[in-house]
Symmetry: C2
C-alpha cells in the first residue's frame, strides 16, 4: 500500500467473475483475513481495519478472524460505505482493484469516500496479489467440453443469432459477456473451474451479427472444442482480451453494470468505445428453458428422486435403531446420488440441520458442529445435484421419532404455503414478487414468517441459483415466463429448536385451457419427485383441495419413482405416498 | 404559435396543480379539442395535429373531436413521445407551458423531440390562454375554511414540525408544496375549487423549522382563517409566489418532480437555489390517518352505510314492480345521501352500470347513454360521498331479478378475492403490490382477471384517490402502514353482458396478537358497512372460513346500520344480512 502511495485498500469477496463460487486462487478475502464465508468484505486503512459480514456469519467470523486486527461490522446495515465515511481522513487515497467491483458498487463507495474528503483510486496491480505471490494457488484450469445438443436443445449459432439481435436492440454493436453461466449457455460448453457448478471461467465478446470471440485459457481447450465452436467463434487467450477491447474504438458495446466489473467500463472508455449499460443479453433466454432442457430436467429429477427416496427410506429405517449424525447423513445422501452413476457434482454443499441446527438458515454441518439426530426432533435436509441433463435442489424436513403437535402445526402451515405456490395459475406479465405472498399467508395468519426469499431460478446443468426471475418480497420487474425453473421453498425457523423448509423445483408452463376461461394463463409443473413427510402433516389444517393436491403429488411420486426404486424402498414408498 | 416562432405546441390534460380534477378554467384540452375525458393530451404541429386518449375514451373521443383536424392516437402505447418522434421535423421548435408538465414527463418528451431533430421550448405565455381570452371561465374562488381539530386530529403546528423535520432529513432548507391535498392536510383547511373534493388551489413554501408561507387568493380567505393559521403561517397572494421563490437564493429546496411542474424547478434555478428532487413530505403522513381521523372515517362510513342500505332496499323493492334506469338510480342514491344532512359533495360521479354498461370500467351514465335495468341482469353501482369526518367509496353489484348460475359463479369468484384481501394479516414492510395477487387468485384459477388495480388510498375528507400506497400489479415500494385507508375492489367484466365489482374501504390496523405468534402483524379493519348481495353468492364455491367471514361481516353491518335505518329498511336488512 505504502509503495503505491495508498492510505487504504478495499478487499471485496467478489472476484473477477462476480460469480457465486470463487476458486481458491481468487478468494482474496479469505487469504487476507482468514474469513471463508460466501459473502463479505474488508477494508484496510493505514491506522485501522474492518471486516464486514452478514447475519449468517456473525459466529464464524469471530472464530476465523483476529479481532485485534479487524473490527467486525455488519455488511448490510451501513456496510463498507458507512465505515469509509467514518474512518477515512480528508486527503486520503484509497485503492481498489477495478476488476473486483461492479460500477454500481463503486458509485456507492466513491460517494462515501468523498463525504469523508477521501478519494478512491484504481490500482494498476493489486497489492494483495503481489503479497500473496508464490503461495497463491494456481488459477483453476478444468477442461472445457461440449454440452451436447441432446442436453442443450439449441445450437450455439441459433443462440448467438438471438443474442446478437438483442444486442442490436440494445442499440449496441457488440456485448461483453463476463458471467461464466452466460458463456457456458451461449457456446454450449461446460467446464469445472469452480466447485458445485460446471462453469468455465472465461470472457467473450459477441457481435450483433452473432459472431464471437471467446477468451479461454488454451490449457482448458479439449480436442473436440474448436470444431464444436465452429468458425463463427474465434478462440483466444484471456491475455488477449484487453487488446480485443481496444479494437472496439468508436463502437457501442453493451455491458451489464450489475454483473461486469468497473474494469470493463474503464477499458472501453480508454479504447474510445461507448459502453451501453444494459442487462446481460443471455440472462433471460438462458432462464427460459427449451423443450429439450425441460425434458432433461424431468429426467434429472426422476433420477435424483430415486436417490433421495432411497435416502429417506434409509433414514426412516435407520432412525428406528440408531440415530445418525449430520455428517453421516450428508455422506449417505451423497452415496445414493453417486450410485445413480450420473452424478457430476453436488449443486451446493448439503445442508443437514438436526434439531436446533435446522433453524440456522445457511447451516451446513462440519465435524466440529456435527450434531446427532434425536428422537422427537426434526431434521432439515437441503441438497441438490448436478447431472448432465439438469440441476436439482430439494429440501425435505423429516420427523425423527414422534413429532410434537406444534411441530406438525408449523410444518403444515409451511406446507399450505408451498401448495398454494405450486397450484397457482397466473396471467402473462406476473412477476415472482407478486406471487411471493401466496407462500407466506398461512404463516402470516399465525403471526409467523421466514426471512429468506421463496424461490430462485435454477440453471440447466449450470448454477443452482440463477436470475433474472425471483420469487421474493423484494420487487423484481422480470415476469415469469414459460420454461423458467424456480424453487418453491417456504420455511419456518424456531430459534434453538428446529427448522422447517419444504422445497421443490417447478417449471413455468402454459396452463391447460379451462372451461369458461378467457385469458391464457401460466402455471407450474413440479419437477422434484420425493415424498413429503406425512407424519408431519396436521390433516385438520388442510382444506379438501389441499389434501387432494398433496395426494395427487404423492401419487405422481409413487408412479415415477416406485418402478425405479429397489424392492424394499418401493414398498416403503407406497406407505409414504398413501393419501393423507 | 406563429407569433411566438413555434412550429408546434403541446397541450396536456394536466393543469398547474397536477390534480385529479380540473376547474373548467384550466381544462385547456377540452377547450382546444372538445374532448372532456379525465386524461389525455394533444399536440398541434404546423401541418398536423393529434389527440391522445386511453382505452376508456376511444368511443367518447370520436363523438367529441373533429377527426378531420385531429388524428386520434393511443395515450399509453407510444403516446405523445412516439408521435413527436414521427411527426416533428428537424429544426422545428415546439412550445410547451412549463407550468403544466412535470420534469419527469418533459424529460421523455424532450428526448423524443431530439430524436426527430426538433427542440422543445418553454413559452413565456401560453398561446392557448391568450386565444381563449374573454371566453375563459374565471378561476374558481371557493371560500377556504378551517378543518376543525375534532376532524383533523392533529394541529397544523404539530404537522408542520413533523414535515419540517422530514424536509431537513431530505437535506433541504425548505420545500415547495403544490399538491392541493397536501396543503389542505398540512394547514387543516378545506376549500372547494374543484368538484368532488374539498380542495383549495394554492401553493406553500414550508421551512425546515415548520414555519410556512401560504399562497392563497385573498378572495378565498374566510374571516376565521388568519387566526386559525396562526402566526407561523404567512398568508400571501398567489402572485407573490414567484418573488418568494426568488428569495430562496442559495437555499436547498425540495420539490416533488412527480407532483410539481417544471416551472418550479426553472424558477428555483433562476433564483440560484438548489432544487432537491424528493417526494412530497406530506404524502406519507397524510396517508397514515391518526386516531381521530380513523374514528371520523368509522362515523362517516356508518352514516354512508345507512344511506346506501336505504338505496339497496329501494332497488330491491322497486325492481319488483318497475325497472329504474341508470339516471334515476344515480339521482335516488344521491337523495339518500342528501338525507343524511351531512353530505358535502359526492366523492366522484356515481357509476351506475346496468347490464352491459357495467362492463365498461369507468362508465358513468348520461341521459344519452342511459339504460334501463332489466330483469335477469346485474347492476353495478360505484359511488362515494364527502363528509366533514371522512370520504367514502363503495361498490355493490346487485341482481335485478333472478341471476344466472354463471353470474353467481363470477360474482362469487370476485367475492373470494375480496374476502382474501380483507382478512389477510401481514408483517410490517409489506407493500400493496405484494398483496394484490390475493384478490386475483380465485379469478386466475378460472382463467379470468381484471384490468385495473385492486386498491387505492383514500383521503380523510380529501381526495378519494390518494397515494403513496396502492394495491396493484405494478410495483410500489411504499409499505402499508397503520392508519392507511385503502380500497379493496376486485372485479370481473364480461364484455357486452355485465360487470361485477365488490368494493369496501379498509384501514390498516395493528393485528391483535395471536397465540403462538412471534411477529407483530398488520391487518385490515373494514370501514364500509352495507350488505353484499347474497342472491349472487354461490355458496358451494365458498370455504367454511369464507362463509364465516361473510356472515361475520353481515352481522356487523346489521348491528351498526340496523338501529339507524327506518323500520322497513331495517326489516329488509335483517334478511339481507342473514348467514349464507
Amino acid at each position: 500500500m505504502a509503495q503505491q502511495g495508498l492510505d487504504g485498500f478495499l478487499i471485496p469477496h467478489e472476484d473477477e467473475h462476480q460469480n457465486e463460487y470463487l476458486p481458491a486462487a481468487n478468494d482474496r478475502l479469505a487469504w487476507a483475513t482468514g474469513f471463508t464465508g460466501s459473502a463479505g468484505a474488508a477494508v484496510i486503512l493505514k491506522d485501522s481495519a474492518a471486516i464486514f459480514v452478514d447475519g449468517r456469519y456473525t459466529l464464524q467470523v469471530r472464530d476465523q478472524v483476529d479481532e485485534g486486527l479487524f473490527e467486525i461490522r455488519d455488511l448490510v446495515e451501513g456496510g463498507v460505505p458507512a465505515y469509509l465515511e467514518e474512518a477515512a481522513k480528508p486527503g486520503w487515497t484509497i485503492g481498489y482493484d477495478a476488476r473486483l467491483h461492479s460500477p454500481d458498487a463503486l458509485d456507492r463507495l466513491g460517494a462515501a469516500a468523498e463525504r469523508a474528503g477521501a478519494t478512491l483510486k484504481a490500482v494498476a496491480a493489486n497489492p494483495l496479489d503481489e503479497a500473496w505471490g508464490a503461495n497463491r494457488p494456481d488459477q483453476p484450469c478444468a477442461p472445457v467440453s461440449p454440452q451436447l445438443l441432446q442436453y442443450a436443445g439449441e445450437a450455439s449459432a441459433a443462440k448467438r443469432a438471438r443474442v446478437g439481435a438483442e444486442v442490436a436492440r440494445q442499440g449496441a454493436d457488440a456485448t461483453v459477456l463476463t458471467a461464466p453461466a452466460s458463456i457456458a449457455w451461449l457456446f454450449n460448453i461446460r467446464g469445472g473451474d469452480v466447485i458445485r457448478s460446471p462453469l468455465p471461467l472465461a470472457q467473450a465478446i459477441v457481435s450483433a451479427d452473432g459472431t464471437a470471440r471467446l477468451f479461454l485459457d488454451p490449457a482448458k481447450v479439449t480436442p473436440d472444442l474448436p470444431a464444436w465452436l465452429g468458425n463463427q467463434v474465434r478462440l483466444e487467450a484471456p491475455g488477449d482480451l484487453a487488446a480485443a477491447l481496444a479494437e472496439l474504438k468508436c463502437k457501442r458495446v453493451s455491458v451489464d453494470p450489475g454483473q461486469s466489473s468497473a474494469w470493463y467500463f474503464e477499458a472501453l472508455a480508454t479504447a474510445g468505445a461507448e459502453a451501453v449499460r444494459a442487462p446481460d443479453p443471455c440472462a433471460l433466454p438462458r432462464a427460459c428453458k427449451n423443450p429439450v432442457e425441460i425434458e432433461g430436467a424431468r429426467r434429472a429429477h426422476a433420477r435424483d428422486g430415486v436417490a433421495l427416496t432411497r435416502f429417506l427410506h434409509w433414514i426412516a429405517s435407520e432412525a428406528e435403531h440408531s440415530l445418525p449424525d449430520e455428517v453421516a447423513i450428508v455422506a449417505k445422501l451423497e452415496s445414493f446420488r453417486e450410485a445413480t452413476g450420473a452424478l457430476r457434482d453436488l449443486s451446493f454443499d448439503t445442508i443437514a440441520g438436526a434439531g436446533a441446527n435446522g433453524a440456522i438458515v445457511h447451516y451446513h454441518p462440519t465435524h466440529r458442529l456435527n450434531r446427532r439426530t434425536q428422537s422427537g426432533s426434526l431434521l432439515l435436509v437441503d441438497s441438490g445435484a448436478q447431472y448432465l441433463d439438469g440441476t436439482t435442489d430439494v429440501t425435505r424436513t423429516l420427523a425423527i421419532g414422534a413429532p410434537t403437535a406444534e411441530m406438525a402445526r408449523h410444518f403444515t402451515l409451511v406446507l399450505k404455503g408451498h401448495l398454494a405456490l405450486a397450484r397457482v395459475r397466473f396471467p402473462a406479465g406476473t412477476t415472482g414478487s407478486a406471487l411471493d405472498a401466496l407462500a407466506r399467508v398461512p404463516l402470516w395468519s399465525a403471526g409467523l414468517d421466514y426471512d429468506h426469499g421463496t424461490g430462485h431460478g435454477v440453471g440447466a446443468y449450470l448454477g443452482v441459483h440463477e436470475g433474472p426471475q425471483r420469487i421474493a418480497k423484494q420487487p423484481n420487474s422480470v415476469a415469469l415466463q414459460a420454461g423458467m425453473i424456480v424453487s418453491n421453498e417456504p420455511g419456518y425457523y424456531r430459534q434453538g429448536a428446529y427448522g422447517i423448509r419444504i422445497e421443490n423445483l417447478q417449471v413455468v408452463t402454459p396452463a391447460a385451457p379451462i372451461d369458461g376461461g378467457e385469458r391464457p394463463m401460466l402455471g407450474f409443473e413440479t419437477l422434484t419427485l420425493a415424498p413429503i413427510d406425512r407424519r408431519l402433516v396436521a390433516r385438520e389444517l388442510l382444506s379438501r383441495e389441499e389434501c387432494a393436491q398433496l395426494d395427487a403429488y404423492h401419487a405422481r411420486v409413487l408412479a415415477k419413482i416406485g418402478p425405479d426404486a429397489p424392492g424394499d424402498v418401493a414398498a416403503w414408498l407406497e406407505g409414504a405416498c398413501a393419501p393423507v
